[in-house]
Symmetry: C2
């Protein structure tokens, strides 16, 4: 038996990463094709919960939202919740320029999945610490993957296969949390 989790997203990379994890617990991730409310807020949780709750209210069926961001220590958490806007305008080069000469290149990728349904809104989180590379490397993944090296690795996310990236990634970690809950819910009396 395969269950389905509908995600409000137009990002096919994101969907593929979520799907790869959910398949491991007997589910599939598919695009919901519903409009998504995106708040300005300093926390990913707040953004994802509001988006999932309103999408569920509008669609009338359970909807999940995944929101992620790159938080760079030396930049006070920038670009954080606005990572995708910053990637679109400044790209990888802009981020590297902001870190020129920085002694501290530590950063964290965070992911929050909010899943809204008759059960309310469940929140699942994942994070991965790492460092920002001096130069972009690799052609896999998307966004800032070419400059993010997870702890314990020498390669960037963009130099890994999806399976390798999912061993470390924030998004996969959040998706595994979601899997755990889906399994429990299925086994509940």
């Amino acid at each position: 038996m395969t269950g389905l989790v509908l995600f409000a997203t137009g990002n096919r990379h994101k969907l593929a990463e979520l799907d790869a994890v959910l398949r491991g617990c007997g589910y599939r991730a598919e695009a919901a094709g519903v409009p998504k409310l995106e708040l300005q807020a300093d926390s990913l949780e707040e953004i994802a919960v509001a988006a999932a709750a309103t999408a569920y209210a509008a669609a009338g069926r359970p909807i999940a939202v995944e929101d992620a961001g790159l938080f760079v220590d030396a930049l006070n958490g920038f670009p954080g919740p606005y990572t995708s806007y910053v990637y679109k305008t400044l790209g990888v080069r802009g981020l590297l320029r902001l870190l020129e000469g920085a002694g501290d290149r530590a950063a964290e990728f965070r992911s929050v999945i909010a899943y809204a349904g008759p059960w309310g809104v469940k929140v699942f989180t994942g994070r991965v610490r790492g460092t920002i590379a001096a130069e972009p490397r690799g052609s896999g993944g998307f966004g800032y993957d070419p400059v993010f090296i997870p702890e314990g690795e020498t390669r960037t996310f963009a130099e890994m296969t999806l399976e390798e990236k999912n061993r470390y990634s924030h998004r996969a970690a959040a998706a595994r949390e979601l899997c755990r809950w889906l399994r429990e819910a299925r086994e509940a009396p």
Copy 2:
């Protein structure tokens, strides 16, 4: 007779600038003290309209929202709608670093006032072209004022008095549009 326009904002600099213009047409700007919905969107209009409409619906009385941003040509419009977040995290220094060596330092400050009431949502806009200074100068204003030199000037916004800044500023221009509409509305039969 003095009318009152309530703004959903906690920024006293912003309020003072709006108030200085509105006094010129017999109104005052005051803080509404209501929560404000802030969307992520590429356009200030969309953000301001949604915020004003929801604040009006919640408060049950007319509410105005002013949203502003600095759009730098060479940075594809960055920081745009996220100017206040970027100021908080990267400051003035981060913006200057992104423009190091840039031949083109042109930028635009934009302001949108959305005023929601029984009339629906009215939108008033203002913009001012200028350049980003090489170094911050002056102690007036707020945010990126110390590095913005409006066209036709050699001083930054932060080197001007509020009255001088309001001769050029995007926010004052939007507020003057609001004044025009308030006057018309008052004179309507």
